[in-house]
């Protein structure tokens, strides 16, 4: 299913490059330029594809997100700025 979702996302990107309404001044419903209408529909289609993505391709290997360094993150600061800073890597040769 995940592969289908990625194909759909690729399809959205391809459909975004529409040549077919490039110079067409036709008005949908009598007021909406067809080129604009098409891309507005593409926005709705994107939302549908992303709904499918979170439903069927949501990453299952996500970490729970529990911090390893609670002792640092819970230090209090009265005025609200950080003491948290991950360790400086050693041996930087750049």
């Amino acid at each position: 299913m995940s592969r289908v979702i990625w194909i759909l996302i690729l399809l959205l990107i391809i459909l975004h490059q529409d040549n077919w309404f490039w110079a067409d001044p036709h008005l949908v419903f009598g007021f909406m330029p067809v080129g604009l209408f098409y891309h507005a529909c593409l926005s709705v289609a994107a939302a549908i594809v992303w709904w499918l993505a979170i439903r069927y391709a949501w990453p299952g290997d996500l970490d729970s997100g529990e911090p390893e360094r609670l002792e640092v993150s819970r230090q209090k600061r009265t005025a609200g700025l950080s003491e948290t800073h991950p360790s400086t890597p050693s041996g930087d040769m750049a």
Binding site: I13, H39, S43, I54, G65, R77, A79, S82, E83, P86
Partner: protein, 541 residues
């Protein structure tokens, strides 16, 4: 004057909201910068959307549609609906997870750790701050233009009629303009430079007192305000321009008067349109968005923003683009100063076609969109400075809390002052400046994507990529005469034909090639780092 009172009331309301958020402040670092990772799906949706929709989306899209027609929607709105959500999905969730696990607050902390390089932070810090400045500049310029636009008097035969403020209220150089500096006069309204200053002050105050929680709340509130008022503006302007009995009849009547070329994309090169698709990748590297991602309560909080972001973009952009093309119709006459400055097309339409009360409310809505981005950017600058420079190099025990706070706020004020100074000069098009800023961030996308997904990315490869990206950006920005050449493209000849592409393509390709080639020929990261960022799922924990 009514408009000004309403705008003033709205700004006061924002300050109150910041004050209220500050009462819930828990006194911890995480709470100030990341709202204690407490932001749920709805607030995350509103704050992410509010942050990405800036002056660029309202003022810039209307102005660009006025100039070049409906193509602007495809260039940046529908593409953003696909690409922004893609970035939230493939990067946002992963970076949130890594940030929670390893205690990151800024992107630089992540890159330093992932690429085993402390000095990479020294390279990235000025680049990220430097690229945020044009983004800030968009908001600062546009906010001043909006307030000035809705408070200006009418121009009749070169004379200002019905000014909000009589001549002599403000210093002459602000009212009349000065060549090269504060160029455009105030025309009886609040001078643009003064209005920008007030907006900067208000946003600074509520960010300082409310922190990330205040910023998230203000973003959500302002996003609702500008979405609702945007739709109201659209209906009101349609009613006034169309003059028919029903909403649909109004829309149909106006469309008949729009020049044919504005209803199509005939003025836009197809290759240029295609390469615009790279510009929204900037979202993957915005430092303020990284900080917003880390505020999420859980990975599931991302689901709502991923799905609804494209629809929200559509709700905001379609009316703005239509208003922009309507401004080209013969139903309304735009005075020459408005025609020459697309940044004020939207405020002009609002002022001309809505009554004073509605015009004031709609202006507040436009300012809401602008300020909902400025606040995150201000907060992020302070966080970058304190986390990645002051505390990182100074050590956590070297300075008192008060000193660190003072340094952070001084840095923010210094950057805002620098941005404000730039805004005093001949204003650039909001849209053009925005595209340059986003292109710079988009060219750093290969770095963040590879850092999350490619084990073989090396420290030297990352340096090469950043230098290639920013070197190309600087060269092309200079070639465009610092964005003064609005239609600047990179062109190349192939098979006897000349092709024009957006500068972002050159930046992106250079950065990507440098990253891949240099990484493949240099020493890979240590096993310890690889195990930390790419743990074997089958290994016992």
């Amino acid at each position: 004057m009514t408009q000004l009172w309403i705008i003033g009331g709205y700004l006061a309301l924002l300050l109150l909201l910041g004050l209220f958020a500050s009462r819930l402040f828990r006194g911890t670092t995480e709470d100030y910068m990341l709202a204690s990772h407490s932001i749920g799906p709805f607030l995350l949706l509103m704050s992410l959307f509010g942050t990405t929709m800036t002056a660029f989306a309202l003022v810039g899209s209307t102005g660009q549609a006025f100039k070049s027609g409906i193509g602007v929607y495809g260039m940046l709105a529908s593409s953003s609906g696909i690409i922004h959500s893609l970035c939230f999905f493939v990067l946002g969730i992963r970076l949130w997870s890594l940030g929670r696990k390893h205690g990151y607050t800024t992107q630089i902390q992540f890159f330093r750790d992932r690429l085993e390089s402390d000095r990479l932070g020294l390279l990235l810090f000025p680049i990220l701050v430097g690229l945020v400045i044009p983004y800030l500049l968009i908001g600062v310029m546009a906010s001043g233009s909006v307030i000035n636009g809705v408070t200006q008097g009418r121009m009749v035969d070169g004379e200002v009629v019905d000014p909000t403020f009589p001549e002599g209220t403000f210093p002459a150089f602000l009212e009349q303009g000065t060549r090269g500096f504060a160029v455009d006069g105030s025309k009886g309204g609040v001078p643009r430079q003064l209005a920008s200053l007030v907006i900067c002050g208000v946003v600074l105050i509520y960010v300082f007192i409310g922190g990330m929680r205040g910023t998230a709340w203000a973003n959500a509130f302002q996003t609702i305000v500008f979405m609702v008022l945007g739709v109201v503006a659209f209906i009101v302007i349609a009613g006034k321009l169309g003059g028919q009995d029903s909403f649909l009849a109004n829309l149909q009547a106006i469309a008949q008067h729009v020049p044919r070329e504005k209803l199509t994309r005939v003025g836009i090169s197809k290759l240029q349109f295609a390469t615009y698709l790279l510009v929204p990748l900037s979202v993957g590297m915005f430092p303020h968005l990284f900080q917003h991602w880390l505020t999420a309560r859980s990975a599931n909080s991302f689901k709502l923003p991923v799905v609804l972001h494209p629809v929200f973009i559509m709700i905001v952009w379609v009316p703005c683009v239509l208003i922009g093309v309507w401004a080209t119709s013969d139903l309304i006459q735009l005075p020459p100063p408005v025609r020459a400055n697309p940044n004020i097309v939207l405020p002009f339409m609002v002022k001309r076609l809505a009554g004073p009360v509605l015009s004031g409310l709609l202006s507040a809505g436009i300012l809401a969109a602008i300020m909902s981005s400025l606040d995150s950017q201000f907060l992020c600058l302070g966080t970058l400075f304190t986390e990645d420079m002051v505390v990182h190099y100074g050590g956590k025990d070297r300075f008192t809390d008060r000193q660190v706070v003072l340094m952070a706020r001084s840095f923010i004020v210094a950057i805002v002052a620098l941005t404000y100074f730039f805004s005093l000069f001949d204003p650039r098009g909001v849209f053009t400046l925005g595209v340059w800023c986003f292109s710079g961030f988009a060219s750093l996308f290969p770095l963040v994507f590879a850092a999350v997904y490619w084990k073989r990315l090396t420290k030297v490869g990352s340096y090469a990529s950043v230098l290639a990206a920013i070197g190309t950006w600087c060269y092309l920005f200079y070639q465009s005469n610092f964005a003064a050449q609005e239609s600047f493209t990179v062109h190349f000849d192939l098979g006897g034909s000349t092709y024009h592409v957006m500068p972002v393509l050159a930046m992106f390709v250079n950065a990507l090639v440098a990253l891949v080639v240099v990484s493949l020929i240099t020493r890979p990261p240590s096993d310890e780092t690889l195990q930390k960022f790419f743990p074997d799922p089958s290994a016992p924990s």
